[in-house]
């Protein structure tokens, strides 16, 4: 019997409070709407199976990635358990912990402007999730069941070229561990890296342009476990852009020159490789 472990990576790019939301950034109202729908989704996952497990990793641009919640380790949750208001206890605890932790994270030096101009830390969050999954698998000693882990990335921030190699490393580690990485792109903007991530790990890549429709997509496309997915007709294009980004200008390119020593990619011919320092002859 497989124990489903779902790691949700919430990649948010909040804009400063009381300012107009810039392109690709979220105002606090949108964050709240996303969070509400995410909580419903997490509760739905927990409701499917009594032994289902959820963890949430937040990747907030400029503030690093943090493990916010692990549904198997809620011992130090400071929730008023008696006053659940008719809600199922486990849902209540999970919701409260998540909201509380995320609130702390978002409120943390909300006023300092420079934090908002930093790049996303999605690669760090994916690495953290994979290390977490690895640890859960190692600690799982019951031979009768195995952990079936997958990652769902709710992503907003644009690709940052410096993350190309770390994200690729995550893809190979995920493939080796049989971890599926699903990607749900909010606000409908494209991401070359994440579409490659999803297609290479057998996950699905869905763009959601209207935030209010998020819950529909989450429940219909991302809730089914990988074993059931074969029988479903899920969205997600088969088209993936496999273009690489060159090391010199970080620009995507479809024809490039590759150093034969280290396989660094350059968009134009050059005499020496800037990564490994070898002097190269023209072929």
């Amino acid at each position: 019997m497989d124990i489903p472990l779902l790691v949700v990576v919430v990649d948010l790019f909040p804009s400063p409070a009381n300012s107009v939301a810039a392109k690709g950034k979220l105002d606090s109202g949108t964050v709240e709407r996303i969070l509400n729908q995410l909580l419903v989704f997490i509760n739905a996952h927990l409701a499917l199976r009594f032994d289902g497990r959820v963890a949430v990793v937040a990747a907030i641009a400029g503030r690093g990635s943090h493990l916010l919640l692990d549904s198997a380790d809620l011992s130090n949750a400071s929730t008023d358990i008696k006053n659940t208001g008719g809600m199922y206890k486990q849902f209540k605890v999970v919701d409260d912990v998540l909201v509380q932790k995320l609130q702390q994270l978002l409120d943390f030096d909300r006023d300092s402007e420079e934090n908002y101009n930093k790049q996303s830390c999605l690669a760090g969050a994916l690495s953290l999730s994979l290390s977490f999954i690895n640890r859960v698998k190692r600690q799982h000693t019951d031979p009768a069941s195995t952990i079936q882990a997958r990652i769902l990335t709710l992503s907003v921030s644009p690709d940052s070229p410096s993350e190309y190699i770390p994200i690729m490393n995550c893809i190979f580690a995920a493939k080796k561990d049989n971890v599926i990485i699903d990607v749900c792109r909010l606000l409908g903007n494209d991401s070359v890296f994440l579409s490659q991530t999803a297609s290479s790990t057998d996950g699905i890549f869905v763009k959601v342009s209207d935030v209010d429709n998020l819950i529909t997509v989450l429940l219909h496309s991302f809730l089914p476990e990988p074993s059931i997915r074969k029988t479903l007709c899920l969205p997600g294009g088969t088209l993936t852009n496999y273009s690489a980004s060159c090391f010199c200008h970080k620009q995507p390119c479809s024809i490039a020159y590759v150093c034969s020593v280290c396989l660094s990619i350059f968009c134009s011919r050059r005499d020496s490789c800037s990564t490994c320092g070898s002097s190269l002859t023209q072929q």
Binding site: S65, S131, F132, M168, N169, Y242, I255, V258, S260, Q283
Partner: protein, 412 residues
């Protein structure tokens, strides 16, 4: 798991100044200890942890923080000794020498082609005083594994011939482009070789053609093998047991460092990274002549191709997926080895709260029942000062190749 542990205990004895055959017979079951409830779980867990710590040690030795030049486009012939010597009994290679060697060769081929996505490997076997080529140089894992599993290829016969095998490999390697490396790896069981001519001439021509020969001896050391490896700048190893064989093979998987004198033959290769496209009506694939609706388009001449990696049949541009290329980037930007923090070192300057630190220590005391024997179980990245446990340390270096802390992660 118990078997592997036994093998490892064996290797310890071998390294500890005493030869494998001089050691007393080991009763590995005596080492097992039951806990109060009669369960072996605690002891098995401790053994597993010890194994992890040893793996970390090996990793730390092989990983260096400084990236070196490595030739990532590799062409290698794997020579298998299929003479009668491989059928001879060996108590250090189980179940039989033949099974053990062929199984490990299979694992090696798979591992090699995963780590070197643009590399090619070919198989040559030597038996009956000659040598035959099982597979040509190719990057297709399935082809090699099929050849190894083919029954007629698994039958040991006659004498081995080192010279014949090296000559066949040399002649095949002459055609590979100069920007790729030329290597031969020999798994040699016999203590003899049956050569038609003077092997010194072969060594000279191997040297002249810039071919690196490494040999893994599966029985005792041979002078001629050592001489060949020394002359061609290869590595000669003689294995002690299966675990050692695995370690030695694994050390051949990572691309070798490039010597500076060789840099003259390096080149910049033009490559295309096609995007997948879907066609409204089925289009003929230029490689196989089959109709396809989803395919790739050569970015230079717009030819339709059905699979990657390949060379464009029209304009001969090398077409690869960038994902494939990225598989070897961790060699360029390795994670620095983490530093072990001693148990006594409790005051710290990194960004952990005291409560979190105490929690961390308590957790590790719980996990590492043999804490004082095996180190503290706390490891620190020298760049970002984040702390890691043993599991995560090994995972970061062996599989993930990312440091969670350096990428802006928090402690967990």
């Amino acid at each position: 798991m118990i078997d592997e542990d036994e093998a490892q205990t064996g290797s310890n004895t071998g390294q500890g100044g005493m030869y494998h055959w001089e050691a007393a017979y080991q009763r590995s079951w005596d080492a097992l200890e039951e806990d109060d409830s009669g369960s072996l779980a605690a002891h098995v867990a401790a053994l597993a942890r010890e194994k992890l710590a040893r793996r970390r040690h090996v990793l730390a030795l092989s990983n260096s923080a400084v990236p070196v030049h490595r030739g990532l486009i590799r062409h290698q012939f794997l020579v298998l000794d299929m003479s009668e010597a491989i059928a001879s009994p060996a108590d250090y290679l189980l179940p039989t020498r033949l099974e053990c060697v062929l199984h490990n060769a299979q694992v090696y081929v798979d591992h090699f082609l995963t780590v070197n996505p643009l590399g090619c490997i070919g198989l040559i076997a030597t038996r009956d005083g000659g040598a035959e080529k099982y597979t040509e140089l190719t990057g297709n894992t399935a082809e090699h594994i099929a050849a190894i599993q083919n029954k007629s290829n698994r039958e040991p016969r006659g004498e081995p011939s080192l010279q014949n095998a090296l000559e066949i490999a040399r002649r095949s390697l002459l055609h590979v482009p100069s920007h790729g490396s030329r290597e031969i790896l020999v798994l040699y069981s016999a203590l003899t070789t049956c050569d038609p001519g003077n092997i010194s001439e072969t060594i000279q021509s191997l040297k002249a053609d810039n071919i690196r020969v490494s040999i893994i001896g599966l029985s005792a050391e041979m002078r001629i093998c050592k001489h060949i490896c020394k002359e061609t700048k290869g590595i000669y190893n003689v294995i002690m047991n299966e675990q050692h064989l695995k370690e030695v093979l694994a050390s051949h998987v990572a691309p070798p460092a490039v010597e500076s004198e060789k840099t003259a033959s390096l080149a910049m290769i033009e490559m295309g990274f096609p995007s997948s496209t879907s066609f409204a009506s089925p289009t003929i694939c230029a490689n196989h002549g089959k109709p396809t609706q989803i395919g790739y388009e050569c970015p230079r001449c717009k030819t339709t191709i059905c699979s990657l990696p390949t060379d464009c049949p029209i304009c001969s541009l090398t077409l690869v997926s960038s994902v494939l290329l990225a598989r070897s980037y961790h060699h360029l930007f390795p994670v620095p080895p983490f530093v072990e923090i001693p148990v006594s070192h409790r005051t710290s300057h990194f960004s952990l709260s005291l409560a979190a630190q105490i929690q961390l220590i308590v957790v590790h005391v719980k996990w590492h029942s043999l804490l004082h024997q095996q180190g503290s179980g706390r490891y620190q990245c020298p760049n970002c000062m984040h702390l890691f446990c043993l599991e995560c340390d090994i995972y970061c270096h062996e599989l993930l190749h990312n440091c969670v802390g350096c990428l802006g992660g928090s402690n967990h």
